[in-house]
């Protein structure tokens, strides 16, 4: 179990990570989600022992501040893999096994390559691989000696969108199968939702919210967090009350939270409509709300200027700042 208490890192006096506290139970995957420059990669490097940090980073209660990187038994996987260009795929994957003089390293390498779906790639050089293949090799290399903690630094960000989606699912499966405890940082909430069990949202060096994925998802701690988690708009005050049907300081709504519904509570005028393969995306000027996003099924496409009624899908909105999940700073 990894425990961080009041961890801070600064570069030349400029704080990059401030007073972060996190807990990661064995066997779980925690995603640290935040915009670029929020300090999440620095936090990861501090856990790996690559940045000097204050506060406590401990594993099963034992403080690690005096343990050098190579003795922490954590594997770090970089955004761009950082494969060793002068070694073949098999030698890259078997690197940590050779360091530990593990017997039967060759069999283990084959097993790992099969796990990441790269059988037959053993003798290739990293320079000949595609981006996705490199990341798979990097993953296999990190998993080789079953580290007690796997650190993933934006493992999929360097890949194009389709591949990213597929690899995220693979990554989830592989981590599950190996029973690995992992800490992943990413700026992509879809990736975090796909791979992780728990989520910590980071902004300007601080963890602003953490908890199980659906807890965080259902109750974002503030407006910025909600927007970063993929909510389209945050409505406040009277508007929030109108949508929710009861008093609340703020409500975050997904694009699909408001649905074209003849029995709906809200009245509005359509000011924009655009068809996508699965639904029609509307912009509706609703009395008391202003312009909001809404959706309609593909077979009903209201004309511009039409008066429509909208229903509210309660599962697609979240009350902001309501539940005291995790530390709100």
């Amino acid at each position: 179990m990894l425990s961080l208490t009041d961890v801070s890192v600064s570069y030349d006096g400029v704080p990059a990570v401030r007073d972060v506290g996190l807990d990661l139970p064995d066997g779980q995957v925690l995603a640290v989600l935040g915009p670029s420059g929020c300090g999440k990669s620095t936090l990861l490097r501090a856990v790996a022992g690559l940045e000097p940090a204050t506060g406590s980073i401990a594993w099963d209660g034992a403080d690690l501040s005096r343990t050098p990187t190579h003795k922490r038994d954590f594997a770090l996987m970089f955004q761009d893999g950082q494969l060793f260009g002068h070694l073949t795929v098999a030698r890259n994957v078997g690197y940590a096994l050779r360091l530990r003089r593990t017997p039967d390293a060759a069999a283990r390498v084959e097993e790992l390559l099969a796990l990441v779906g790269l059988e037959g790639y053993a003798d290739r050089l990293p320079g000949t691989l595609s981006g996705g293949e490199r990341q798979r090799v990097a993953l296999a290399r990190s998993l080789a000696v079953q580290p007690r903690l796997l650190l993933l630094d934006e493992p999929l960000s360097a890949l194009d969108a389709g591949l990213r989606e597929r690899l995220a699912v693979d990554l989830r499966r592989i981590l599950r199968e190996a029973g690995t405890t992992a800490l992943m940082v990413t700026h992509d909430h879809e990736e975090a939702f796909t791979v992780a069990d728990r989520l910590a949202v980071m902004r300007a060096g601080r963890v602003v919210q953490q908890g199980a994925i659906d807890e965080v998802w259902r109750a974002p701690v503030d407006r910025d967090t909600a927007l970063f988690l993929g909510y389209a708009r945050v409505l406040e005050g009277d508007a929030a009350e109108l949508v929710l049907g009861r008093a609340a300081p703020a409500v975050a709504v997904r694009r699909s939270a408001l649905v074209l519904d003849d029995a709906g509570r809200l009245h509005g005028t359509v000011v924009g409509a655009r068809a996508t393969p699965t639904q029609v995306r509307l912009v509706v000027d609703v009395a008391g709300l202003g312009e909001v996003d809404a959706v309609a099924p593909l077979d009903r496409r209201p004309a511009l200027g039409a008066d429509v009624r909208l229903g509210v899908d309660g599962s697609r909105l979240a009350v902001v700042g309501a539940a005291p999940t995790g530390q709100a700073v």
């Binding site: 490097r45 790996a48 022992g49 690559l50 000097p52 050098p68 990187t69 190579h70 003795k71 922490r72 038994d73 954590f74 594997a75 770090l76 996987m77 970089f78 950082q82 060793f84 260009g85 002068h86 690197y95 940590a96 360091l99 530990r100 050089l125 990293p126 320079g127 290399r141 990190s142 080789a144 000696v145 650190l151």
Partner: protein
């Protein structure tokens, strides 16, 4: 077609200069070996090569250079790491201090080591004076800076993340070094080592002053055969051997430098704070600093002593001609040296700039590319020839029509300019070649003519390297001894030649003057080189 013609026109100048002052002398030297009396007779060369002394000389050159190269690399690597990767106080000052030996004139290095290891010197008790150990030490002293500079620059630009990835996989610092860092640095280390070996194998001043007649390298042997024994055919034969050996070595180094995957990620790392595990390297660097400082300090202190008292007498004596050793006072030699250096600098700069432009411009047609690559190879020829061979070639070919320069004051500067040429070209070419051609195209598309394009794109990038190259050429010329020793007349001697005369002449005063003159020369070159160092041009000693 017009472009190819323009290229040839631009190249004409350097080609002519190299033709007259390089191909002709070297060709004449080869001819002297194989056609001793007009007819082809390789027997003479074979006879020279089978002499036992020749074998000893070649073997000594090879092993002393190899050992000196190993020592330089072993001492240079820790220092390269410490000075380029760690955040130490006084880092810049130490870097500059360790650079000084490389620019010291070879004769000065020789004198300093004699002063250090000689009977009356601080380390005289070790009995190393006049032994191969002294020569190897002198060569290593001279070349450690090359290793630090070129490997250090590569190390500084090395992406730290693969090493971090290895550490995160459980590799200890030593294992990271062995499995990740050293393989990535291999090209830099091989290239530095081959350059150092080349410098050692062609070192003239150090071996001549420290080895005398007993230990000769090929380079000093050529000199001794020519000046003392007047055996020109033997000298020519040895020159041919050296020419071939160096060319082979250069080709080999180029092959070794090639790596399977050249796309090494470059990202300059911030120097990091010193950790406990860094202490061995830091200590090694401090030790190296002491090793480098010892001869220099002994030299300076020695120059300040007359008899048993502290005195500036040796420096005052520089206005005299010594105890019958010289034809001109040392001060006049210094003026000659500076004048010669100025001439050699503008010559090599002009020549080097034209060569660099010719070599780096992008070729548009296959024909143009072929012409350019032939020219490229041709311009690199002086790299493969030692200064002594060049000086010797000048001596035997440029003394009669069509080119009779025996009495010309330009003979020495021209020779020095050719010696400095590779240095100049190698400083400018990477910068010119690194300019994205699209910058020029952008300027042209905005309406800039060729000259205007040159002024907006090339000049801003190249003026600092150009100044640096001028500094290198000036310093190289000030300290040049190999070619100058052949060519300088006694009444127009340069300071290195004068120093060599002084240490070869009996008398305490002559020796004291040699020390003082060495300090003056060293200080002059050091000032020039430190000025260059401030320009922060990356490549020095990376050939």
């Amino acid at each position: 077609m017009r472009r190819t013609l323009a290229l040839l026109g631009l190249a004409l100048g350097p080609v002519l200069v190299l033709g007259v002052f390089f191909v002709l002398p070297v060709g004449g030297m080869v001819a002297r070996g194989f056609w001793p009396d007009g007819g082809f007779d390789p027997g003479g060369v074979v006879e020279v090569l089978t002499r036992p002394r020749t074998g000893r000389v070649v073997w000594f050159t090879v092993w002393s250079s190899a050992v000196a190269t190993l020592v330089s690399v072993a001492l240079g690597l820790p220092a390269a790491y410490v000075l380029h990767r760690l955040d130490l106080p006084l880092r810049r000052a130490v870097r500059a201090a360790l650079l000084v030996p490389f620019v010291l004139p070879t004769v000065v290095v020789g004198v300093a080591f004699r002063q250090l290891l000689g009977e009356s010197g601080p380390l005289g008790g070790l009995g190393l004076d006049g032994t191969p150990v002294a020569i190897v030490a002198g060569l290593a002293f001279f070349n450690v800076a090359v290793v630090i500079r070129s490997v250090g620059a590569a190390w500084e630009g090395l992406d730290p993340r693969p090493a971090e990835a290895a550490a995160a996989l459980g590799a200890s610092p030593l294992q990271v070094l062995r499995t990740v860092t050293l393989p990535a640095l291999r090209p830099a280390i091989v290239s530095a080592a081959s350059v150092v070996f080349l410098f050692c194998a062609t070192s003239f001043g150090v071996v001549l002053t420290l080895g005398g007649l007993r230990y000769a390298s090929v380079e000093t042997e050529i000199y001794l055969l020519t000046t003392n024994l007047l055996d020109l055919q033997a000298a020519a034969a040895l020159s041919v051997v050296q020419l071939v050996a160096i060319t082979v070595l250069l080709a080999l180094a180029a092959r070794l430098r090639a790596v399977p995957d050249p796309t090494v990620a470059r990202r300059t790392a911030r120097p990091r704070a010193v950790r406990r595990s860094d202490w061995p390297q830091v200590l090694a660097t401090v030790l190296l600093l002491a090793l480098v400082a010892a001869p220099v300090l002994t030299l300076v202190l020695g120059s300040l002593r007359v008899g048993d008292a502290w005195s500036l007498g040796n420096y005052r004596a520089l206005r005299s001609t010594g105890e019958g050793a010289l034809l001109v006072p040392v001060t006049e030699a210094l003026v000659t040296s500076l004048r010669t250096a100025v001439d050699a600098t503008w010559m090599s700069l002009l020549l080097g700039l034209v060569v660099a432009v010719v070599v780096t411009r992008r070729s548009r047609t296959p024909a143009e590319r072929r012409v350019r690559s032939v020219l490229d190879g041709f311009f690199m020829l002086p790299l493969g020839v030692s200064a002594v061979t060049l000086g010797f070639g000048f001596l035997i070919t440029l003394d009669r029509p069509p080119v009779d320069l025996r009495d010309s004051a330009l003979l020495v500067p021209v020779a020095q300019a050719l010696v400095a040429l590779p240095l100049v070209v190698r400083t400018i070419v990477p910068v010119l070649g690194g300019i994205d051609d699209r910058q020029r195209q952008a300027a042209a598309s905005l309406g800039a003519g060729p000259l205007r394009t040159l002024a907006t794109v090339d000049l801003p990038a190249v003026w600092r390297p150009l100044l640096a190259a001028a500094g290198f050429a000036f310093a190289a010329s000030l300290g040049e001894f190999g070619a100058t020793a052949f060519l300088a007349r006694d009444e127009r001697a340069t300071v290195p030649v004068v120093i060599f005369r002084l240490i070869g002449s009996p008398g305490a005063m002559n020796y004291g003057m040699a020390l003082a003159a060495s300090v003056v020369l060293a200080a002059t070159t050091a000032v020039v080189m430190l000025a260059v160092e401030r320009l922060r041009v990356p490549s020095l000693g990376v050939l």
